[in-house]
């Protein structure tokens, strides 16, 4: 349908902008305006400023998971150890979020390639891993981790027997 639309556009629409654009680009500079003066200085100062900001921002992002730890601890404490729908949902979120974040590390730090990028990534990963560990600890205290022999009881091979018996009361 969109194809149809664009075709129609091409067929029927009058493009008034094209010429204007061309015109505007070819406009001469206003009188007294020098393009070359001061441009170099302003450019460099702006560049370092935004870089600093970006690094700061990225550190914020990198430290974000670690900052969540106290909050998560509080949530975990509030959720309790009983197994019901809300604590389970919370624990699920606690695990799923850092794991997702870990997988998305590349895309999160895509925009920069600075000197501190590696450090930031490492901190970010550590923060997420701490969160996962916290969630696992929570699972452990809720008893959701299959760490006991009882959890594997159903998968055990059934016992076989060496000797076989027959008999009973005397038939005579």
């Amino acid at each position: 349908m969109s194809q149809l639309k664009s075709n129609k556009k091409l067929k029927w629409a009058l493009d008034f902008n094209q010429k204007n654009k061309q015109l505007s680009t070819e406009l001469p500079s206003p009188p007294g305006y020098s393009q070359s003066s001061n441009a170099n200085y302003a450019e460099s100062s702006k560049d370092s400023d935004s870089n600093l900001l970006l690094i700061k921002k990225l550190w914020d992002v990198a430290l974000g998971p670690l900052k969540q730890v106290p909050m998560n601890l509080f949530i975990m404490y509030m959720a309790g150890n009983s197994i019901s729908i809300f604590p389970i949902m919370m624990v699920g979120m606690l695990i799923v979020r850092p794991v997702k974040a870990l997988f998305a590390t590349q895309s999160t730090f895509k925009m920069v390639e600075g000197t501190q990028a590696i450090g930031q990534k490492i901190v970010y990963c550590i923060g997420n891993i701490v969160n996962i560990l916290l969630a696992l600890y929570k699972c452990q205290s809720m008893g959701l981790l299959p760490t006991h022999s009882s959890d594997w009881l159903a998968f055990e091979e059934p016992q076989t027997r060496l000797e076989h018996i027959g008999g009973g009361l005397s038939l005579i």
């Binding site: 076989t160 060496l162 000797e163 018996i165 005397s170």
Partner: protein
């Protein structure tokens, strides 16, 4: 359910507390599963009941009431009315199974008169049409001796009781039937000539007396006021040296008897020999009245001609041609004329209806021309063993299965096999289409396995030696096999090959005793068709001590039968399987001496020999005797190796597959009676645990499965039935690693035994455990009560781990607090209100559905049903609304496509805007 009901008891706060602590899920599910019973419209859907009365002792046609019936009294002490047209039970009264319920007399006038018991006697009158008791009076004789030979009959509205005292006199008492008033007290008639060989043909009592060669035939009317003895030399009637007196099987006309295949009547105080030949010494002879005068009927089973019946006119001695035929297709061994009624049609033809009871306890109602109106297989009132046998898969399924069985072969070969079976499937489909539905509707459904393996054949072994194959879904008898020489007193049945191995047929073996010699008698048959296979009927020349089935199958997938005979020799059937015998042990418990012997079976290259390796004496100083010995079911699967405790550790079960529970009982000098339950290892002979119940009697109904055992006994002190339960545990650490083989010889360690006893507030008659294919579902105990109900109890209620006041952990585990009395709720009765009389056994078998267990209860009635101990979790509900679901589904699909269309239109419109 148990959780909830027990917590409801204390108070409501208790319930609230429990709701807090117990998992919400458990509460939720227990609310759903509040009842185990079925809905009213499900009656008869999965279950059926067949009513039997037992072997017919007396029978009389009811000619008085409008609804034609046959009134029968049976050896099982049942008084019943059978519908003349269908043979169904119209009404039935079951008397005591002991001698006090013995029916001595059945007399029909305008009401039914019965005499039951043996001193004291009960005389009762019953309404003919409804079977309601009208009156009753009791009679107790002062002197108890000689009453075994007493005779009863009704004469002119008076009940006559005759007690012969051999070699001395006859005591005759006459009573008013309805009231019991003794008319003329008891009269003693002197008769020194009477003996055990005398016959009664009311009112005459006839004997042969005297020294051999000089014998006299004596007879006397015992009811007449004047004593008149008819006496004739025996030589006048028979040339044989020894006279043999026999009464008629049915006699409604003239007093008479049979003397060495000769009919002699007593008319006008005279013997009168009738010149009608009795063709066969074993023939059953009856004297019946008909429109053209009295008839003599005789029937026997002729080897050449089959079932034969013949009739003569008593007066003329002429043969009545229209009554009399032989039928080779009828298999009625040793027929006996139970009741005969003869009328005449408008065309002056005799019409007789003859009720014949055979040696195999079957009763046939035969009409003219040998047409059998109905047959009642009364042998089924005494079932001694039951085996559920899987049906074979259909030919098509077998082909598909064999395709997957063949592991070897190249890809190309597998592909051609695939194509072949596909082609066969196509052929089958085309053939089914061509044949049409009409042909399929008429013939019975083929005996092939259904998808869930719910359809099976039940092989029932009965007391008389008749073996039945019965369809479990309909209760229809598919085949029957009568083995007259089979004594089923201690008979066992084994399925030695199931129908799962296509080219080979299923194979079932019955090991019993020969009726006369007591030697081993082995019957092998195909349980699907009832035809003899393999060894067929094998008479051994030695008594069998014990038998077992070898766990290993031979090349033909047949499990060998191991027979241990009286001289401790071993016989393997078939003999070619002898090299397969290894690691096989047998044990034999002797009832009276209470000694259990264990044998190791070894194959020494030529033959298998049994070596006595241990023996355990359970006699306790000579007074105890073994009453039960029960080991685990042979093909038992155990799903879980342990029990998970609330702290998530495992309490491992002691799953000794060789464990045998032996119940002994006997008198005790201090405690009156003592019951001892001993758990013995069947391989090593080691005693794992022993429990003594003091002042207890009658240990019964042992149950043994996985790691738990249960048995019933009668508590003499409290006068009640109790059930003792045991569970065996290895503890938190397992003795052998998971998956390893268990060996009884690996060193003896005693397991932890937990035990409890519970009061059963009823008298249990039979017990069984539910059985499922993989033992994933809960175990339930089925208890048949003497009230005629079968109660399904979860094992959780019988568990010995139930603590008196459960602390936190035990409560978390879901253990029900201990209560001494077992609840037997009405909704746990699996046979709803279909009362089952005199239940003796319950048999369970797994089906292909993990949730479902098949149950057959036997006794006087047969009752089949299926139970789902953990609910039908793998099955849609019975009333699942398929129509609603498909309508909703179709509507949803329709809605999806229509909205798609409308959405496209809307988009188009939007684009135009």
């Amino acid at each position: 359910m148990g959780n909830l009901s027990i917590n409801l008891k204390p108070n409501f706060m208790g319930l609230l507390k429990c709701l807090n602590s117990i998992n919400w899920f458990i509460v939720f599910f227990s609310l759903i599963n509040l009842s185990m019973c079925i809905y009213e419209d499900q009656i008869g859907k999965f279950d059926w009941r067949q009513s039997y009365v037992g072997r017919i002792k007396f029978a009389q046609f009811d000619t008085v009431s409008t609804a034609r019936k046959i009134i029968v009294a049976t050896e099982e002490n049942v008084l019943a009315a059978l519908n003349l047209k269908t043979g169904q039970v119209v009404w039935r009264h079951v008397f005591e199974s002991t001698s006090s319920g013995n029916i001595q007399l059945l007399h029909l006038s305008d009401q039914i008169i019965t005499v039951t018991g043996s001193n004291p006697y009960l005389v009762r009158g019953w309404d003919l049409s409804t079977g309601v008791l009208i009156w009753e009076w009791g009679l107790t004789l002062q002197k108890n001796e000689h009453t075994d030979f007493s005779e009863w009959w009704v004469q002119n509205g008076l009940l006559v009781h005759m007690v012969p005292k051999f070699g001395s006199h006859i005591e005759v008492s006459v009573y008013n039937v309805a009231t019991g008033h003794n008319r003329g007290a008891t009269s003693k008639l002197p008769a020194v000539w009477i003996n055990e060989g005398c016959v009664l043909s009311p009112p005459y009592y006839t004997c042969i007396s005297g020294s051999p060669g000089n014998q006299l035939l004596l007879s006397m009317d015992v009811t007449s006021d004047a004593v008149q003895i008819i006496s004739k030399p025996l030589a006048e009637y028979t040339t044989a040296r020894n006279g043999n007196l026999n009464p008629f099987d049915t006699n409604t006309v003239i007093p008479g008897f049979l003397l060495n295949e000769k009919i002699i009547l007593i008319r006008g105080n005279k013997f009168e020999a009738i010149n009608i030949a009795i063709s066969e010494p074993s023939a059953s002879v009856a004297l019946v009245d008909s429109a053209s005068g009295p008839l003599v009927l005789q029937t026997w089973n002729d080897e050449a001609k089959g079932f034969t019946l013949m009739a003569h006119n008593l007066v003329s001695g002429q043969r009545v041609n229209e009554i009399g035929w032989s039928d080779r297709s009828l298999s009625i061994p040793e027929p006996e004329l139970s009741a005969v009624i003869c009328t005449k049609t408008a065309r002056e033809q005799h019409v007789c209806r003859i009720l014949v009871t055979a040696a195999d306890d079957a009763s046939h109602l035969i009409q003219q021309e040998g047409r059998v109106l109905w047959t009642r297989e009364e042998a089924l009132a005494n079932v001694v063993a039951v085996e559920f046998v899987d049906l074979p898969v259909s030919d098509l399924d077998a082909a598909i299965e064999s395709e997957f069985d063949q592991k070897e072969g190249s890809v190309l070969a597998a592909f051609t096999r695939r194509l072949q079976s596909q082609f066969q499937q196509l052929q089958g489909a085309v053939r089914a289409l061509l044949a049409g539905d009409a042909a399929a509707a008429d013939e019975p459904p083929p005996l092939v396995r259904d998808y869930f393996n719910l359809h099976k054949i039940m092989v029932l072994l009965t007391d008389t030696g008749k073996i039945f194959g019965m369809d479990n879904l309909s209760g229809e008898i598919l085949w029957k096999l009568y083995e007259p020489n089979l004594n089923t007193e201690a008979a066992v049945m084994f399925t030695r090959r199931s129908a799962r191995h296509p080219p080979h047929d299923a194979y079932l073996t019955v090991v019993g005793k020969h009726e006369e010699t007591g030697n081993g008698l082995i019957v092998s048959l195909n349980p699907i068709r009832g035809t003899p296979v393999g060894e067929q009927t094998l008479h051994l020349d030695v008594q069998i001590l014990q038998c077992a089935v070898l766990y290993k199958a031979d090349a033909q997938k047949l499990h060998a039968l191991i027979l241990l005979d009286k001289d401790e020799n071993v016989q393997i059937l078939p003999e070619s399987s002898a090299p397969l015998v290894e690691n096989m042990y047998m044990h034999v418990a002797d009832r009276s001496s209470a000694v259990v012997r264990g044998y190791a079976l070894r194959h020494d290259g030529e033959r298998v020999s049994a070596k006595n390796i241990w023996s355990v004496d359970l006699s306790g100083g000579g007074s105890q005797r073994v009453v039960w010995s029960v080991s685990k079911p042979a093909a038992e699967r155990i799903h879980s190796a342990g029990r998970v405790l609330p702290d998530r550790s495992v309490l491992y079960k002691h799953l000794n597959p060789n464990l045998v529970l032996l119940l002994t009982e006997g008198p005790d000098p201090v405690h009156k009676d003592v019951v001892v339950a001993t758990c013995v290892d069947g391989v090593s002979g080691g005693v794992l645990s022993a429990h003594v119940h003091r002042r207890a009697r009658r240990p019964a109904l042992p149950l043994h499965s996985e790691h738990f055992l249960a048995y019933l006994y009668y508590n003499d002190k409290q006068r009640r039935h109790e059930i003792a339960t045991l569970e065996l545990y290895e503890g938190p650490e397992r003795w052998v690693p998971a998956g390893a083989a268990f060996s009884s010889l690996r060193g003896a360690r005693a397991p932890h035994v937990q035990r409890h006893a519970y009061i059963v507030p009823a008298a249990p008659a039979a017990a069984a455990l539910s059985a499922t294919e993989r033992s994933l579902t809960d175990k339930h105990v089925l208890l048949a009560l003497s009230t005629g109900a079968i109660v399904e109890l979860p094992w959780a209620l019988l568990e010995p781990r139930r603590a008196l006041s459960p602390a936190g952990e035990a409560r978390e585990e879901g253990l029900v607090p201990y209560a001494p009395e077992l609840p037997l709720p009405a909704e746990a009765v699996v046979n709803y209100n279909a009362t089952l009389l005199r239940l003796t056994r319950i048999h369970t078998a797994p089906s292909g559905l993990e949730s479902t267990s098949l149950v057959l209860a036997t006794g006087l009635d047969l009752f089949y049903t299926r139970i789902a101990p953990s609910k039908t979790f793998d099955l849609l509900k019975d009333d699942f609304d398929y129509y609603l679901i498909s309508v909703v589904l179709a509507a949803l699909v329709l809605a999806t496509y229509s909205t798609k269309y409308f959405a496209a239109r809307k988009m188009l419109k939007m684009a135009w805007k």
